[in-house]
């Protein structure tokens, strides 16, 4: 048995039963990280000292017969766009290279309260803008299944860390697929909950009406565990829903009766890699074998989701990123600062990478005088049409299944010069963000080149429990989630 390869639930059980101490788990994990991080580069910063301190605290609690939290002793990685008190939060941007927040994000507070051990902050595309991790200002994370490939983005660091057993679970953020897409590329379970299910307080905003914090885990049970902890109402986030959080942990093992699964034709069309198509069709067959009814359906406006997304996301991003001006925090230009406008323009020119600049420019363009109606309002209307598509669909089915991505992980550098081509890799994940519904990606096969394939399950608003349960059903029937990349 190799400790680091266990699921989060399993390692927690061992710690609670005192078969092993939390400190031993942390020591073991950091030894492994010491060996493999130079290859994978999943992290922007690590905090071994803090992790050991927390581990010691948990061990002492357990030794004294004290009560421990739901995540007792589990080493967790956090995407570096989620604020951690006293720990640098860089968003993989030069502009925040030295930013240490004096506060914890809501989710960070929650997992700390439940005795998780935070081991480090993972790499991402700068400000979560990207699909490959190549937009990080610091380094490119590699896919543990093939280190010539990207791990996906923007949460590639979190996904690679979990896959490479350098963390037992991770938190990410998903604006257009940044939890699900890298999970699919790395063979993890990635869950983006309903918009409003998990507080965004402390998540550095990219596109506020689309951003949602999610989990990247080794299996569905671990996803249920992490979601259980981070879900729920937060009075510091106006968009946080005051909806009761069901017992996900118990819920995933209940029986699925009369399951109706929707198969949208728009997600199986042109541009879909045939190996992915057959893997997902295979998976649908497994559901059918287990008594589910497969229902063909159409989401006619989904073909417009990407265009809609790039207007709304960049518009919101252009204003969310306006605050990085070098006045109150962050990078400030070293050049002479004779004029405030020059200072702003230089700080931002030096602090932002190309992708961020591109999106800020685009966002400001679509919002600028004379273009607002043609772009922003138009996109907002189409967004409503897409939402109606899903409402119609969910009146007939319990969940919608599709591939998570049209293609598997691609080579580093392969798409970097063509932004539009890169954006296409989020084509299946974006609709859930536009509509605000939950989506989960689970492993459902491998390509002939040995890269993981992900399958996406989407559910109605606040029906995370149901899609987790349906995902668990598949996981019980298969062992894709247990496969490990050969990193030894």
């Amino acid at each position: 048995m190799i400790l680091r390869e266990l699921s989060a639930n399993s390692i927690k059980e061992k710690i609670i039963k005192r078969e092993i101490t939390a400190q031993e788990v942390v020591e073991d994990l950091f030894k492994w990280i010491g060996l493999k991080e130079s290859l994978i580069k999943a992290y922007i910063s690590l905090d071994k000292e803090g992790a050991l301190l927390k581990a010691k605290e948990i061990d002492e609690k357990l030794n004294n017969g004290g009560r421990v939290g739901l995540l007792a002793g589990i080493p967790v990685a956090i995407k570096d766009n989620i604020c951690t008190w006293g720990m640098k939060t860089t968003c993989a941007s030069k502009i925040l290279e030295n930013f240490t927040p004096p506060y914890d994000a809501f989710v960070v507070k929650r997992i700390k309260e439940e005795d998780a051990i935070i081991i480090g902050k993972t790499n991402l595309d700068e400000f979560a803008m990207g699909s490959s991790n190549e937009n990080s200002a610091f380094h490119v994370t590699r896919n543990p299944w093939n280190t010539d490939c990207i791990p996906g983005g923007s949460g590639g660091g979190s996904a690679a860390a979990v896959t490479a057993d350098m963390a037992f679970m991770a938190l990410g953020s998903d604006t257009g697929g940044s939890v699900r897409q890298p999970s699919s590329f790395c063979g993890n379970v990635g869950c983006k909950p309903t918009y409003g299910r998990v507080s965004r307080y402390g998540l550095v905003a990219f596109a506020s009406s689309l951003d949602q914090i999610g989990s990247i885990t080794k299996d569905v049970s671990d996803a249920a565990l992490l979601l259980q902890v981070v879900s729920g109402h937060d009075c510091h986030d106006s968009t946080s829903a005051n909806v009761e959080v069901p017992d996900y942990i118990a819920g995933i093992n209940s029986v699925n009766n009369n399951l109706r699964i929707g198969v949208p034709k728009e997600f199986f069309g042109e541009g879909l890699n045939p190996e992915i198509e057959s893997a997902v069709k295979n998976a649908l067959g497994i559901y059918k074998k287990n008594g589910a009814e497969l229902i063909d359906l159409s989401l006619p406006h989904c073909g417009y989701a990407l265009a809609t997304y790039y207007i709304i996301a960049t518009a919101e991003a252009s204003s969310n990123l306006a605050r990085y001006d070098g006045v109150r925090y962050g990078h400030r230009s070293q050049l002479s600062e004779d004029n405030i406008i020059d200072m702003y323009s230089r700080v931002r020119a030096e602090g932002f990478g190309s992708e961020v600049k591109r999106r800020v420019l685009l966002g400001n363009y679509v919002l600028s005088a004379g273009f607002y109606d043609a772009y922003y309002i138009k996109a907002s209307k189409v967004r409503n049409l897409i939402k109606s598509d899903f409402e119609d669909a969910f009146s007939k089915v319990d969940c919608i299944i599709s591939p998570t991505c049209p293609s598997p992980a691609f080579k580093i550098g392969e798409k970097i010069t063509d932004p539009l081509e890169m954006y296409l890799s989020d084509i299946y994940t974006i609709p859930a963000n536009l509509v605000g519904i939950p989506g989960i990606s689970i492993p459902c096969g491998f390509t002939t080149t040995g890269l993981p394939i992900g399958m996406q399950l989407m559910g109605k608003h606040f029906e995370e429990e149901k899609i987790l349960r349906i995902a668990k059903l598949f996981e019980n029937e298969t062992d894709f989630h247990l496969k490990k990349p050969g990193l030894k």
């Binding site: 604020c83 927040p101 009075c235 204003s319 306006a322 702003y344």
Partner: protein, 480 residues
């Protein structure tokens, strides 16, 4: 040439809440720089706004008091522009669905009624404060964010004002309404109430507006009047010369009493408004509007009219009393305690109470003489006389004691007894034969001298009316 002046006004009023619009930081004025800030009002990464309920209610209250149509659906928009006092480099404001639209303010200018249309009323967040160092060669500015995020109400009129007098009247009336409904302290010296004017001139009778000039940075009503006077002459000079007035924003320089160009229309901002995704929309049901309506007190304009009718006060006096709601309340509380003397109570308040308040820089609610104490003084005045009553009034302020107590303590009851006074009169005449003689020879001020002497003896307690009568009788009988 004769020009018609066209003026519109934008008013910013800081709302009188405990905490800021989106965070719990204090709104207190005048604290050490940056001591009332937090990640939310500094726009640190990852933080989110949550709407202050009171600020929203106050805005609704103001919109209702200004007779606006209330938008059932209202939401907030981001207004983007870069300025170091604006932490997020966008201001959360309202643009597409304001809380209120199409309202009005009724006012009286030079005895004539005039209605100013309100284009919209909306809620937004205040910016911080920039401080420019005294020395002109300093190459930096300083920023204090204590004010950033204070709830700010913006009230925008239509270009309905046609003279400086109308503008002045509008500012007073609006300020008065905001104070009456209690949503802002309107302290101009603290910047709680600020104005921006837009002004254009056109030929008398023309239906087309001239090029508009906007003027910012107006921190007092006096500044508004001054800048408009300045602009009217500047613009009419240009027009007289056949030159165009430039469409631009100008900044008022109070020190030099002149305005200077800030930016032209072409350079004006492109604010890129779009809905603020971090706040959810607000639905205002009719019941909410009705409930708000019920909390709006009788406003100054109607109160003034009622005072004239109900208490037979002059319009001028009623105006002074109703200018401050607390003063009007004070007056009505007095009248409630002593229905038969509204005119006299009004005189006391306008002359004596206001003078003392001004001297002591006090608010009437913190004035030591309560309505009960004042009415008591007015009631016993006939027994002590006017001049002693004034002394008692001062003594009441100094000691906090009631009029009764002071009169009793100092034995100040007026001597009304004719026979008692007659004895004193005889004595005074006997002691001052020269004066009596003078009076007989037609020197009328000799009488005043004799009365003065009597007052000295009686410590001012002699009833002056009776005293005068007695002297006149006595002296005329002597001279005959």
């Amino acid at each position: 040439m004769k020009y018609e002046v066209v003026i519109g006004l934008e008013t910013h009023a800081e709302l009188d809440t405990e905490s800021k619009l989106f965070c719990g930081c204090s709104t207190k004025f005048g604290s050490e720089p940056n001591t009332q800030t937090c990640p939310v009002c500094l726009g640190l990464p990852g933080v989110l706004p949550v709407m202050n309920k009171k600020a929203f209610e106050y805005s609704l209250k103001a919109a209702v008091a200004l007779y606006c149509e209330i938008n059932q659906f209202t939401n907030f928009d981001r207004k983007s522009y870069y300025y170091p006092d604006l932490p997020k480099n966008y201001q959360t404001s309202q643009n597409y669905f304001n809380i209120g639209n199409n309202g009005y303010v009724d006012m009286v200018v030079a005895g004539k009624e005039k209605r100013i249309s309100i284009h919209n009323v909306h809620l937004e967040e205040e910016a911080g404060k920039l401080i420019h160092p005294e020395s002109s060669d300093a190459n930096y500015s300083l920023v204090d964010f204590n004010r950033a995020g204070v709830p700010l109400l913006e009230i925008v009129t239509q270009p309905d004002m046609r003279s400086i007098e109308e503008v002045e009247s509008y500012m007073q009336t609006l300020r008065n309404i905001l104070l009456y409904i209690g949503v802002s302290d309107c302290k101009m010296q603290e910047g709680s109430l600020r104005f921006e004017a837009s002004i254009s001139l056109r030929e008398q009778g023309s239906a087309i507006y001239g090029n508009r000039v906007e003027i910012k940075n107006l921190n007092s009503m006096k500044a508004v009047s001054k800048v408009l006077t300045y602009e009217i002459s500047r613009q009419s000079e240009l027009l007289d010369k056949g030159e165009d007035v430039l469409m631009e924003t100008r900044l008022w320089d109070d020190v030099n009493s002149s305005s200077r160009r800030m930016r032209s229309k072409e350079e004006s901002h492109d604010y890129r408004y779009f809905p603020e995704p971090d706040l959810v929309p607000f639905w205002i049901k009719q019941e909410w509007i009705d409930e708000t309506m019920a909390t709006i007190p009788e406003l100054a304009v109607s109160k003034r009219q009622r005072f004239v009718k109900e208490y037979s006060l002059s319009d001028y006096d009623a105006g002074i009393l109703t200018d401050d709601k607390l003063l009007a309340d004070y007056f009505e509380e007095c009248v409630g305690l002593s229905q038969d003397s509204p005119k006299e109570l009004s005189n006391w308040i306008i002359n004596d109470v206001l003078r003392e308040l001004k001297e002591r820089k006090l608010n009437v609610q913190h004035f030591v003489i309560s309505p009960k104490m004042l009415t008591e003084l007015v009631k016993i005045k006939p027994t002590i006389g006017s001049s002693i009553a004034k002394e008692v009034f001062v003594e009441m302020i100094n000691t906090g004691k009631s009029a009764h107590a002071i009169v009793k303590e100092k034995d100040l009851v007026q001597i009304d007894d004719t026979s008692e006074l007659n004895e004193i009169v005889i004595k005074v005449i006997g002691d001052n034969p020269k004066a009596a003689e003078d009076y007989g020879q037609g020197k009328k001020n000799a009488l005043a001298f004799l009365i003065g002497q009597t007052m000295k003896i009686t410590k001012g307690k002699a009833n002056p009316k009776i005293l005068t009568e007695l002297f006149k009788q006595r002296l005329s009988s002597i001279s005959q």
